[in-house]
Symmetry: C2
């Protein structure tokens, strides 16, 4: 959390990764972010992984530092409340992020009747309005086809919902760009982005569409090799696996030198009549290069070369499981200012990340846990919508809104 | 390209994916983005994939719509020029993005002597300043350990440099947030982000760090299954492979209904004494569910169920190679307003993406191709640095700067 965006208010109606990530990123830069959900929780309320209590670690991870309000959106009164929250006055308010496909009361046209300069950023599945998720966009565009061990017959999907993470960050920059425009011109706008278009554009940005059109030979699976230059994984004498990189000339020379393979590489270059300082040649001859490097790693435990590699400034890392990384890597611990140890009721005690970005003008503060569902219902109805206490009490009593405190009160009666 | 950020000037000293992507994203929103490179090109000038001409499709993809200046930064004069470009006056200028690790003349402390309100966003490998790339960060944090076919013994790296793509978008929002702060408070700042921290934070955001600490059973490889609910790939009668999703209750009911497996799923639920409407149960019983669904797909060609699936609003897609996607999927063609067919000298003719985001207040314009290296050297030296023509001519003649036009002139002489 920093206070960089202090005073900005953003409303979020969302589920899953991308839009919750966008709202959280803004909250971690200091914005007030109000996420509304239906009573009982949104589509992602129980998403795995969960703690032994059954509470979602996923939800807690993607909604840190937000305010939560729980509203019955089946009721006209609930819809009116959400409309009033989204369109509440304030120079630094009137911003709405969503991936819910609600036509009618919650679309841009309707909402702008209540606040003309609204900025609304909508993430869709595809540009046609059809449902698509990370797990369907990725195979449709061919990434699993080029992922996996060489010669493996089937497509291999990545375990990281990368497109969601990318799209979520694009939602943040789209909102900030639109708000910059509103500050100068006074006009809001309707901003749309489709998850599939995010992926399609990135494919083009990485040169893969051009490659598919203008080149005959198509990129296949290449295991854990770094595409297009040299980078490879090796199993060491202690059974540990490392990744070593020779992408730039400096990295390549460093790797060859640190592994004592200068002469062998020179012989390979002569034998093939090729220049290994050309990164495309390293890619072409990667198998031969790997055979030259393999004995170095096979004969050594990681600890035997780690210091030398670090001193030489090599680009390398050790493969770990997530659990090993959490246990062994200081970058995933409170040694890293990004992380704070939090004890969260129902979840447990573990290092929780704030924003990875460090702003010198807005010092980092500790990450805030995710709210309980509806924890800020009263506060938001009072401060944002401006309802009197008697009206708020009536909304609770009629079941239009919910909060943990009200639920506890009911249970105690 | 839109004109949303018209008037903003950003200078970029970069290589590879993340920071070039950040600069390009700003250019596609209308900012003037000046990328400087050493004469002959930066570290990524020849990155694969390349066209038959040898020109980099990768570089062309990640530098669209920028201005390019080529400078000899080994020379004091060249360094001074770059300093003057970065710190040139202008309310909407004084913004610098970089992933080059240059201490001394190009660090924040030195540059702010020439422009106090500079905003500088630096992307590093890790927080210690050690070199790390997407291909080393990813294995260090455990994603390849959970990627790949069930039971596969080795880690499997993804073919997409996902962390780079995520970090690049974070650089954009960090810059926009810092510029918003400067507009209001008049102060620039030094903004740092490490690629490894981006990944570490995302691991936490997705609940994976909490999962590693509080749960005994650890998530393993699960092939192409959607983690945590139901989603699976199936091979159809025509040999084509599809991905089908039952993440939400609506998706799940739709999938079961469209495949005519309602009774079989009910029997499975009874036999196991579990409720398949619970997404965690669908994950637990995914293999049994898959066996029930498999005959439906094995007996049908994709075209036999595609329309029905679409009409029912199912979330699904067909696996394709990149080449097949480019040939068959209209979302990767000029049917999609994101794409424009461009004929690029040295590269060829193929659909080129603009920004995937659509802003209603700043209509989309066609994507601009990447510049030739140094194509804007004269223009930038004149318009940004304010040098007279005689001085610019002298800089060309002494080899401090370069441009394609000057190189052609030399060759002709």
């Amino acid at each position: 959390m920093t206070q960089l965006l202090k005073g900005m208010r953003v409303v979020e109606g969302s589920a899953f990764v991308a839009v919750p990530l966008a709202g959280m990123t803004l909250a971690q830069m200091g914005a007030e972010v109000i996420r509304f959900d239906r009573i009982g929780g949104g589509l992602d309320a129980k998403r795995l992984p969960v703690a032994p209590s059954g509470q979602s670690l996923f939800w807690a991870g993607l909604n840190k530092g937000k305010k939560s309000i729980a509203v019955d959106m089946q009721s006209p009164e609930g819809r009116e409340l959400v409309t009033r929250i989204i369109t509440a006055p304030g120079d630094d308010a009137g911003m709405f992020l969503t991936n819910l496909r609600v036509r009618g009361w919650m679309d841009y046209e309707t909402l702008t009747k209540f606040r003309e300069d609204l900025i609304m950023v909508t993430l869709m599945g595809d540009r046609h309005g059809r449902p698509q998720v990370d797990y369907t966009v990725n195979p449709a565009l061919g990434i699993p086809d080029i992922t996996g061990p060489e010669g493996h017959p089937d497509p291999v999907a990545n375990a990281l919902p990368a497109w969601d993470c990318i799209a979520g960050n694009m939602v943040v920059s789209a909102l900030l760009a639109a708000e910059r425009h509103r500050l100068r011109h006074g006009t809001g706008q309707d901003v749309d982005v489709a998850l599939k278009d995010v992926a399609a554009a990135m494919l083009g940005n990485l040169g893969m569409i051009g490659d598919a059109v203008v080149n005959t030979a198509q990129r296949g699976k290449s295991g854990n090799a770094l595409y297009g230059a040299y980078g490879q994984d090796f199993v060491c004498a202690d059974g540990k696996r490392v990744m070593v990189i020779g992408l730039t000339a400096r990295q390549w020379k460093g790797l060859v030198s640190a592994t004592g393979t200068t002469d062998a590489m020179a012989r390979l270059a002569v034998r093939k009549g090729r220049d290994l300082m050309d990164e495309a040649v390293r890619w072409e001859l990667r198998h031969e290069i790997t055979e030259i490097l393999r004995p170095f790693f096979a004969a050594r435990r990681v600890e035997e070369f780690a210091d030398d590699f670090n001193k030489a400034g090599l680009t390398w890392s050790q493969f770990r499981s997530v659990k090993e990384a959490v246990e062994e890597d200081a970058d995933l611990s409170t040694d890293n200012p990004v992380f704070t140890m939090l004890d969260q009721p129902g979840l447990g005690r573990f290092p929780v990340p704030g924003a990875p970005v460090t702003f010198s003008a807005a010092p980092r503060t500790a990450p805030q846990p995710a709210p309980e569902l509806g924890a800020h219902t009263e506060e938001v109805l009072g401060d944002v919508v401006g309802l009197p206490d008697t009206e708020i009490a009536r909304l609770f009593d009629t079941g239009v809104v919910q909060s943990p405190r009200y639920a506890a009160k009911l249970a105690a009666e």
